[in-house]
Amino acid sequence: MYETSYHRAESVEEAAKKMGTAEGGKYVAGGQTLIPTMKQRLASPDALIDLRHIPDMKGISINGKDVRIGAATTHAEVASSADLDAVCPGIASLAGHIGDPHVRHMGTIGGSIANNDPAADYPAAMLALGAAIHTNKREIAAGDFFAGMFETALEEDEIITAVSFTAPEKCAYSKFPNPASRYAMAGVFVARTGDDVRVAVTGAGMDGVFRWEEAESALGSNFAASALEGLAVNEGEMLSDIHGSAEYRANLVKVMAMRAIAEAG
């Protein structure tokens, strides 16, 4: 790691102000991607501005079906929230399968979404749940937020403060993890409210998280795994690396989608 300076922000305003004055600054939350990257000397921010201790950014609030999760909420907190599990079990279960216990107790939902790793789990949930991403400047619909591998709609100094969504009637997340990294080789989040079905896929697409619209319309009229039988994602748009070919990932997307549908019930 190169030498850097560390600032713990007490408020969103203070964090944004620090970013404005720091040269080469970077926000850090759980640091589960950024810190290892810095240790490898692949990233070298001159200043780290820590968002994880800002009180306004922490915690989960639930009002009927309306859910708001503070951006600095850890995966472990999301996974262990009984209230959240009661209204939206898919996202609680997803959080419980991110990385390992260490990652889950440090990593945050805001950090994961802001980083938009093409194999991260949360982006699939955000897209399938039609979540709103709240920042210190605006509110961005998830569909407009994720802009390709590691790319988002966030501006340089913009801070995600929370995410919110209305819990669907049914939802589930099914993931086939890379056995080494535990990132998704294919992760599919399925959410259904009435005949509105959303299927979001992470880990497999060349451009990061995406919605499998063909599956969504098939499931809209028949919410059953069998509805996907004749369908396939386009192999040409799938990632291919030493862990999985595009062909294999295309298969996993379908299998995970079917399993998520079965689990959502």
Binding site: F176, A180, H243, L252
Partner: protein, 780 residues
């Protein structure tokens, strides 16, 4: 045996300090004035060095010095060597290319050390290392063992034309060819044994300290054999004469073979300490461990196994290419030859065997012995072939093996080894019973109902351990003898220190060696301390590898104890006015058999040191040493059965049960032995399912972190069923065969045999990742 003697499940004495974080590893060592080193390493797999400019780096904050290969050469530091001479079939000696501790004119793999930077802090050293400017002319690269032998492949070492190190053979080729020609059935396979990265928990490290006032060097390092390190650094690398070099291997956090070898870093740290006048410490980071620890396996093999009409094996022919990487590591030549092809008879009566091994250079990390070392490769070839043959012949894999088992001992194989004892069928039967082999079809049918493909696979392994008679290995090319030493020091109060040439880096010697002493003298293990790992404290010894500490190291202790006991009995006989022949040592007492005349062990010891009343002419003191040179290898053997379920939709394999039935000879501590089996099987399952080492076409290691290189985790493994069937080794006094490597040797073929059985497609390579298994399911 007593509650702490041989056969007792004694909790490990060393675990308190390891579990509470109080271990003392090389990185924990601090010497006043010590500075930190970082190595500049080649980012290219093959390149000529056109120039090295260290001026900018030397001017950086905190930098003490930056040293490169030319300065090392000017000081007469020698090249790294391979210590086992292999001759090719045509009689020519192996083509060993030069391995400079710091590369001078050429780099040959990604990670090759080019320079050392020494600074006040590690971060400063790393900053300065980035400022060292090395001008490279990049050359074409080859990483694949078969491709490196092809015409036009890049030439890696000038003195190894066509990248061939040796072309070696064992056995009778003509007789084997004719047996195969006359066979009723021949099973042919092409088998790949995947390259593995050892991944010891503690990365390699070295602290070199030159004391100018004493003209003396001390090296703390992560070694499995500190005396061998001292010998090699002194005799071959010209670092320092042995009497002026102390090597200490303190607590060492796992080795698996990778810490047998002498690497460039410890040589360079010692030399640099003298050169700069400061103690120099280097600790590998995990990336360096991936890039530069000696890797394991990496064989490509063609095999033919012939059977007669009664399904008896008539001949076995094996043709292997072994990838040794960019340089010949210390014992790299022995692993794919005398530790591999000599085990090709397995547990079977095979009248004709011929093994051909071509060892090759590639632009990859050096490859050497890794847990099992050659024997896993031999077992994988044999046991995959046996299983395949059974399928082709349409008979039970268990019965094909049973029909060919060796049942009479000693048994001379056609490939050097002489098995002294064993009962292979006992382990086969025990494993089949534990696995409920006969109940498998019903379980398979039940799994099918759940959409899962269930398979069962078997592996009957034998290994040669405790390596081995010095004279024999010397005649086969070894540069060292393979005996072991011990000294038993009885203190005046009767407590004991045992100084052993074995080295513990996870094996639990502090417990098991003390159990041996406790068993002999009847004193508590708490009264026995084991001293190892320091060349200034312990007499010359050969260290720990090849499952040899019990069979060879403890045998040396037995010999020393014999001498101690003899003297103690003479003293007791004198004091008790009895005949020496009537004295026995029991429960901490030295007594006249059948009487109540007795002295406490501590009383005898005290008398030896007060020397007020010793037998006439006897020297004071009670301390004896011994060297033990084994008469033969030992031959642990066993049968492993693996049962899996494959999810055909994803290709994911779940191991449902794993049975290990082993004959390790006599066992000192069953708990520790079971732990060895668990660890070994976990590593074998890792090789079979998860661990893939991938170099890209440019020689970059793509799997250089735990994000991409998958080590087995607890959740990947079932609860193992372990049992022992014991035949005593006939060639050492304790009847021990050794247990350290068996798990890693026997398990990979059992896993792959199970998966291929499940999916009905035999075309599957390790690691059998979900993707590969899915593809094989679809191709079946």
């Amino acid at each position: 045996m007593g509650i702490e003697g041989i056969g007792a499940r004694v909790a490990r004495k060393e675990d308190k300090r390891f579990i509470t974080g109080k271990g003392r590893f090389t990185e924990d060592m601090v010497v006043p004035g010590m500075k930190q080193a970082v190595f500049v390493r080649s980012p290219h797999a093959h390149a000529n060095i056109k120039g090295i400019d260290v001026s900018a780096a030397k001017a950086m904050p905190g930098v003490i010095d930056v040293l490169a290969g030319d300065e090392l050469a000017e000081d007469g530091i020698g090249s790294l060597i391979c210590g086992w001479m292999i001759h090719s079939r045509d009689g020519s000696p192996m083509n060993m290319g030069e391995w400079r501790p710091l590369a001078q004119s050429k780099v040959r793999y990604v990670g090759d050390a080019v320079a050392i930077v020494i600074a006040d802090t590690r971060a400063q050293a790393r900053d300065a290392a980035e400022a060292v400017e090395v001008e490279y002319k990049v050359l074409p690269v080859v990483t694949d063992p078969a491709e490196t032998l092809q015409d036009g492949a890049p030439q890696i070492h000038d003195n190894a034309p066509g990248n061939l190190i040796f072309n070696w053979g064992i056995g009778e080729e003509e007789a084997t060819d004719s047996a195969l020609a006359g066979a009723a059935h021949v099973t042919e396979m092409e088998i790949v044994n995947n390259r593995l990265v050892p991944n010891a928990m503690e990365p390699r490290a070295a602290l070199g300290h030159y004391d100018a006032a004493e003209d003396h060097y001390t090296c703390w390092t992560t070694s499995q054999n500190p005396h061998v390190a001292r010998l090699v650094m002194s005799a071959f690398y010209n670092v320092a004469p042995e009497n002026k070099l102390r090597v200490i291997a303190p607590d060492v956090g796992g080795g698996f073979g990778s810490k047998i070898y002498i690497y460039p870093e410890e040589i360079v740290c010692l030399w640099a300490s003298k050169k700069t006048g400061v103690p120099v410490k280097w600790v590998a980071d995990r990336t360096e461990a991936f890039l530069t620890d000696a890797h394991g396996r990496d064989h490509v093999t063609k095999v033919k196994m012939g059977f007669d009409a009664d399904n008896r094996i008539v001949g076995l022919k094996v043709d292997t290419i072994a990838n040794l990487g960019a340089y010949m590591s210390l014992f790299s030549s022995a692993t794919p030859t005398y530790l591999y092809a000599t085990l090709l008879s397995g547990q079977y009566n095979i009248p004709n065997i011929y093994g051909n091994v071509r060892a090759v250079y590639t632009n990859t990390a050096p490859v050497d012995a890794y847990r099992g070392a050659g024997r896993p490769e031999a077992t994988y070839v044999l046991e995959r072939t046996m299983e395949t043959a059974a399928r082709e012949l349409g008979i039970s894999p268990a019965e094909l093996r049973r029909a060919n088992l060796i049942r009479e001992f000693p048994h001379q194989t056609p490939v050097i080894m002489n098995y002294d004892t064993g009962d292979f069928e006992a382990s086969l039967n025990a494993a089949m019973k534990a696995a409920d082999y006969d109940g498998f079809p019903a379980r398979k049918a039940e799994a099918e109902g759940r959409g899962k493909k269930r398979g069962i696979g078997m592996s009957c392994y034998i290994e040669a351990c405790g390596i081995a008679p010095s004279q024999a290995v010397g005649s086969l090319g070894a540069g060292v003898g393979l005996w072991e030493s011990a000294e038993v020091r009885v203190n005046a109060v009767g407590t004991i220190e045992v100084l052993t040439g074995s080295h513990s880096h996870g094996q639990g010697h502090e417990t098991t060696f003390a159990q041996l002493v406790s068993d002999r003298l009847g004193i508590p293990i708490d009264n026995v301390s084991i001293v190892h790992g320091d060349t200034d404290k312990v007499q010359m010894g050969m260290g720990t590898y090849g499952s040899r500490s019990g069979a060879v190291g403890m045998s040396a202790i037995v010999k020393a104890l014999d001498k101690v006991e003899k003297k103690a009995k003479m003293i007791a006989a004198h004091l008790l006015e009895a005949d020496e022949a009537d004295i026995v040592i029991e429960n901490g007492q030295v007594k006249v058999a059948g009487t109540d005349k007795a002295l406490g062990w501590h009383e005898v010891a005290l008398n030896a040191y007060t020397a007020h009343n010793l037998p006439g002419g006897m020297e004071p003191g009670l301390k004896e040493g011994a060297f033990y040179d084994p008469a033969n290898f030992t031959f642990p053997a066993g049968c492993y059965i693996c049962e899996v379920e494959v999810d055909p939709q994803t290709g994911k394999t779940e191991i449902i049960q794993f049975v290990a039935a082993d004959d390790f000879g006599n066992i000192i501590n069953p708990m520790i032995v079971e732990g060895q089996v668990h660890g070994g099987v976990a590593q074998g399952i890792g090789q079979a399912l998860l661990e893939g080492t991938v170099y890209d076409e440019g020689g970059q290691l793509l799997t250089a972190s735990y994000m991409d290189y998958c080590m087995p985790r607890a959740g990947d493994l079932p609860s193992f069923q372990v049992s022992h069937q014991t035949t005593e080794c006939t060639t050492n006094p304790l009847g021990i065969k050794g247990c350290g490597e068996a798990g890693a040797i026997g398990s990979p073929p059992a896993v792959i045999n199970a998966i291929t059985d499940a999916i009905g497609n035999n075309n599957l390579t390790m690691p059998a990742t979900s993707q590969k298994v899915w593809a094989a399911v679809n191709a079946a």
